[in-house]
Assembly symmetry: C2
Homo-oligomer: 147 residues x 2
DNA sequence: AATATAAAAGAGTTTTATGTCTTAATTTGA
DNA sequence: TCAAATTAAGACATAAAACTCTTTTATATT
């Protein structure tokens, strides 16, 4: 479904959204800890997200990542597209180079419905919306018992 | 979603289902051609499916793969589980080691619905059911214009 | 029995994804 | 202005997935 990179990206972004209220900056070490992710690896991922303007970053002492109100309006889908590209939108589930309603693979039609719903989900959920729920402890970005 | 191996597996199995009517055997070269797949690679995949009794095979002249009526009743899900394992059923979409309704990741709940529908789809579609539709030209196992 | 055919098996290669480590650039604050 | 902190960037390492090639085994046919 998502690549590992993309999983890390989504978790990191939600984590930053929660922690960077009031303009606070959150460092890569804390993101790694808070999401159970390999620090240097997600550093590269954050660079991509930063270059693509999905998140803000500042170097130096008291630096780190943060989100402004515009950033918070980005959806999960925006992160996915930034990291994994748009294969989720365009690729045939059975790998046909050309698969369409006119020339479909065997499960094109049924998969289309599922894909539509999945895309709707990741497009409708903005990063900001997760913030309050995370605060309330309604969900997690890492397992309770980390291995 | 599916690994490349799994994509090949599904396409190959549907191809065999169509071509092996009346007990005919279909060789690996024909399967590769008919599904636009790398021959030696799918040979290994077919070995797995054969060992797991999802398809029959005979060696020697006039040998090849075929399906009996029982084989035709297997679902796409059976192929998926044989090749990709049950990660699709069990893994958290964000990679949490433990993700459940009690301790969910941010998108656990919404993804659960989608996952349920996807699983329903691959479990309800048996290989045999595709056969007639493929004959009728209703869908394809490779692109019209192969690259 | 010998030969040809085709899958099974195994070893190896290439490519891509994942993960680590080091250095450079920037910024803050003393 | 200097030192410390922190992201950016790049090079490197490891692992997994995808793909290829060769040899072995089984079987049908002559």
């Amino acid at each position: 479904m998502f690549s590992k990179s993309c999983e890390y990206a989504i978790k990191s972004m939600i984590f930053i959204a929660q922690k960077s209220k009031d303009g606070a900056r959150i460092g890569i070490k804390d993101i790694a800890k808070g999401t159970d992710s390999p620090q240097h690896f997600i550093a590269k991922i954050m660079q991509v997200l930063s270059r693509k303007k999905l998140v803000h970053s500042v170097k130096g002492p008291n630096g780190g990542f943060y989100m402004d109100n515009l950033d918070l309006q980005n959806s999960i889908a925006d992160i996915v597209k930034a990291i994994d590209g748009d294969g989720l939108y365009t690729d045939c589930v059975l790998g046909l180079h050309a698969c369409s309603a006119e020339n479909p693979c065997p499960i094109h039609s049924e998969y289309s419905v599922i894909k539509k719903n999945f895309i709707k989900m990741i497009e409708n959920n903005t990063i900001g919306e997760f913030r309050d729920n995370l605060d309330a402890g309604n969900f997690h970005l890492k397992s309770i018992l980390s291995v």
